[in-house]
Subunit: 344 residues, 4 copies
């Protein structure tokens, strides 16, 4: 199966070649463990620079689910839950990792994967203003992903509005950036890496899906990390002994702007890909400006294309057709697109 | 600090060069995520071969603490705790990761880091035979590390005795093999990788401290994995999206016996190192047959040696001297030892 | 405030007088603790008789939320969650007690507070048959309340259908009977206490809201209690030292059919009360056949009635009117109704 | 068995008669639920008076284990554990209820069931001052019981010393008062109820074992309750719907000093009982000044006495004899002692 060209996801290949190079160069340097190595320290400094916040607390974790549950569990009080849209990754596809830490995911309806400031405000207002809710889980944080699970993105204004609602009701905003790069490079998007420090209380810069083998860089702007976060990362099983594993990768991704270059290239190719599908008369399920494209296929198309390329089955439609996902990554090339163009 | 030669631990350097080579070779191969890649599948097959159990269930996780807490939490029933010696890693140095999963670590006294079958038997007999203990935590698993936190190892007979006690009382035995290779290559040791399948219900083959950048291979002999272990690994935040990260590493470590070669080399050099210290009149704190050596230094010796080499402070002695640890790894060479010999 | 006649809920008064009498009579009898007292044993035997299952495992706990979370947490496997309707008590009004035990409440839409067999089946079928859901929480139990939070009840046929769906997909059904008596005595209802043993894997007989000061009797039909449930009750903080507290109460409630007599009287009065409201032209929010009646009031009516009687504000309606609840209990009398009739 | 005179424990009988009287008198008063009833409010006011702290936050819970785990879980931060002596109730006999809330019980050696300030200080100093312990569970609270599980008590000076150590290292002190009354009335004791507010950050006044059917009154001096403690009590399943159950009981116990009268009577009789045993040449295991007496019996004595009276087997001694416990309660009379005197 793996000999067909795959557009299944953005984690099909290994790491960006510069990362592997850097592993080779640095391999024999002896370092302390647990994130106190030269490379992690350097990576964190470069990230502070990139997010334009010298006071940011930065931690390098290994994977998305562990990062989500560690952040949420360490920022919530015991009587609080986290508010997400019903399609949010933590609400659906993390095997209950948040609940495993004893906290409820409180869901509100979203739109194309996005949370709407007004809906959030209505929910929080009803909880905090209308009557007594002492028998209910307190909303203690809002969680959004950028881009969302559907590839959609928030405008800066939309993030400001959500953040403003959060501050109004006194809860932190957490932006899951498992695919942050693609969100920042979204076509028509206006959010930059330097903006985030003022738009939320914590976010992470996803590495796994943007060119690394693994790794997520958690950023708490303005020294906002929970006290003893390091120990809680250990407690959650998310502390890496050879911290250089993530240190070297993020140090490389944040040298010469590699992180955003990777993301930009993938997004550009995805937009071209969308154009290819549209030119041949295919319909979009959702108009995504990022590296994931959601196309509607009928059975004949499914069969035909899947003979030569791999893609992800997303969901069936009532009319019998199917939504599928084609994704690009750091490794996708114009050649891959030319190939795809011939077989769709 | 990092310019001094370091003997601090066995995770000071990166990965064994063959692992990096293999990352380079395989980087562009497109694979499914979450452990269904070619390399993980191949690694698992080679591990089944090496542990001499075609029916073993093998899972590749990322780090030691997450592996310990995931195994323990998924094998215990809610009313059970895990029995360990008071110096056991899970009882002391994992920030309460086991308790975080709602289970108690029940401690019994050990000897040089090891659990004694007789002590375990006395404990379990008292619990299960003498009177009613329905208000107490049930012992539901025994945990030992091989080698122990003090570098000591069990003989095959000792493991058989402990396992026999466990079976007598109906609880599984879990062997934490974060440094398994060094235990299997211990001087004077008689336990082989193929023996383990009959000596416990679950063990893991530590990669992080034996030549990998990260990774622990969990082995449940005889199809003994808990039902839906995969989902629980995800729930614990221990599932890696790019499964190739651990797949490629274990595939390499289990090609041409590399895993044990790495371990053997490190142990051999450690034994030589011990000889060097003894020859110059130093005392040992414990006579370790593995890659960690525990030497007693006085203040003058500490000062002198630490000008040229790094080592780990272990614990102060009542007489004012200090126990320190010198460790070897895949990267240690005869040259390093020659250097050390001159400065001690 | 407490001098006005209250119809706020069914736990406004103390215990049924026979319970207090029995406390007096038995007070000096010396008994062992933790449920091994004469009265608890007798109560359990009477309950086995009443539920028509000599093999039932019966446990006496103290309150509803602790009973729900203890049952759910001890019957689910770690990777499982409990399915409830969105208005289910555990999903909304128990402060996240289920999530506190690390399990997710999975919600599906309900109808007038009730779960529909077909909706449950669709949900379970989608999970277990359509594709792989290893990254999601497994549905491991269905939870319904009888009567529901809205006073509505299931017919025997409806319970059979839900139970049949559960068995088809291999998950247990749990019936929360915090107000079980009122459900069994519902006007037009056809479910009897003896039926329940074949309609679910666990249910409880609520005491607190049906004449006791506290206490819920958990029944696992056919020796179906989880292993070491006693110890887990202790672990959840739900084990009472003076087991006679619940023992005496349930022994009394299950002597001479008192439990159902209490329930029947309250339901009969509630139905009369409903008739009174209807006769004066009030509208019902929902046509409840049990001891809770949901009436729609406009502001003038609210003001007027609340001068003389207490009731519970349920929820505002879009048209500006308000749904309120009037409840009867073991202590409600015809005199109370006559009084109410004059002021509405 | 229950026809023999029992000295097994202090929860063998029902409630003090005044409590039952009061239940009868108040039974028809209609009240709001969940602790907002007249009686709970009155009880809390009387308790504030009795503990001499008008700013105390008082909550009425139902049983000891739930009170311990709720207090500990809500006062600790996620990375913290609670320090107790190895014989502490939470460390041994609560089925892991504290660990169930994800927190470790950190044990230090005790003496006759008591914690020693110096031992605690050594432990805390080693943790907070000597080196880095970021991979370990932080001590976040000290837990002692008063009286201890062995019936022994602390002097005021001893409590001041422990509290002083706690304040020095910045952690709260929690006094488990499941049998508080007996401790306050201990022969030779010098701690009064009014002292406690300055000796710890939280304590509870045990009702279950001092004359009530159930109930523990938690006191956080000086408005020290954790934020939203009410909701967390609910989350832990420890909130009682008919709050009058504990309200009426504590209101009665704190009227006319009944609580201390009950305790004083039981302690006085226990001291007489001790004198009786000593007069006949029996040995004490420990010289307890409270209502529990620990006597050493040989087999002949065990057999003989147990024909007429019940007592608790405590633990076997190496010489073949047995430590047993004789306890007095609110219901013990001089007549019971006269009876015992004849058969020992």
């Amino acid at each position: 199966m793996e000999t067909k060209r795959s557009f299944v996801c953005d984690y099909s290949e290994g790491a960006h070649p510069k990362i592997l190079e850097r592993f080779l160069e640095t391999n024999m340097v002896q370092c302390p463990g647990y994130g106190f190595d030269t490379f992690s320290i350097s990576a964190k400094n470069k990230i502070k620079e990139a997010v334009n916040d010298q006071e940011a607390d930065v931690f390098l974790l290994c994977g998305g689910t562990q990062t989500n549950s560690t952040i949420i569990a360490t920022m919530l009080k015991p009587y609080e839950g986290v508010v997400a849209v019903t399609t949010g990754h933590i609400a659906v596809h993390e095997a209950g990792a948040v609940e495993y830490t004893s906290h409820k995911v409180l869901t509100i309806p979203g739109k194309e994967g996005k949370m709407e400031a007004e809906v959030l405000n209505t929910y929080l207002k009803a909880f905090f203003e209308d009557g007594n809710h002492d028998h209910m889980v307190f909303p203690g944080m809002a969680y959004i992903s950028f881009p969302t699970e559907y590839g959609t993105v928030y405008s800066k204004k939309e993030l400001e509005d959500i953040h403003s609602v959060c501050r109004k009701w006194g809860i932190p905003l957490f932006i899951d950036g498992a695919r942050l790069g693609y969100g920042l490079c979204a076509h028509g998007g206006d959010v930059s890496l330097g903006d985030l420090k003022d738009l939320c209380e914590v976010f992470y810069i996803g590495g796994t899906k943007v060119g690394a083998l693994c790794g997520e860089a958690v950023v708490f702007p303005h020294h906002g990390a929970p006290e003893h976060f390091f120990t809680m990362v250990k407690q959650h099983g998310a502390l890496i002994a050879k911290g250089r594993l993530t240190g070297v990768q993020f140090d490389t991704l944040f040298t010469d702007g590699l992180y955003l270059k990777i993301a930009k290239n993938a997004v550009n190719l995805a937009i071209k890909m969308k154009g290819m599908f549209l030119a041949k008369g295919y319909s979009l399920h959702m108009d995504s400006p990022t590296n994931q494209q959601f196309i509607i296929l009928d059975d004949e198309q499914m069969d035909r294309i899947s003979k030569h390329a791999l893609f992800e089955i997303w969901e069936p439609l009532p009319d019998g057709r199917t939504v599928v996902r084609f994704a690009t990554s750091w490794a996708t090339t114009q050649e891959d697109l030319d190939f795809l163009d011939k077989i769709i």
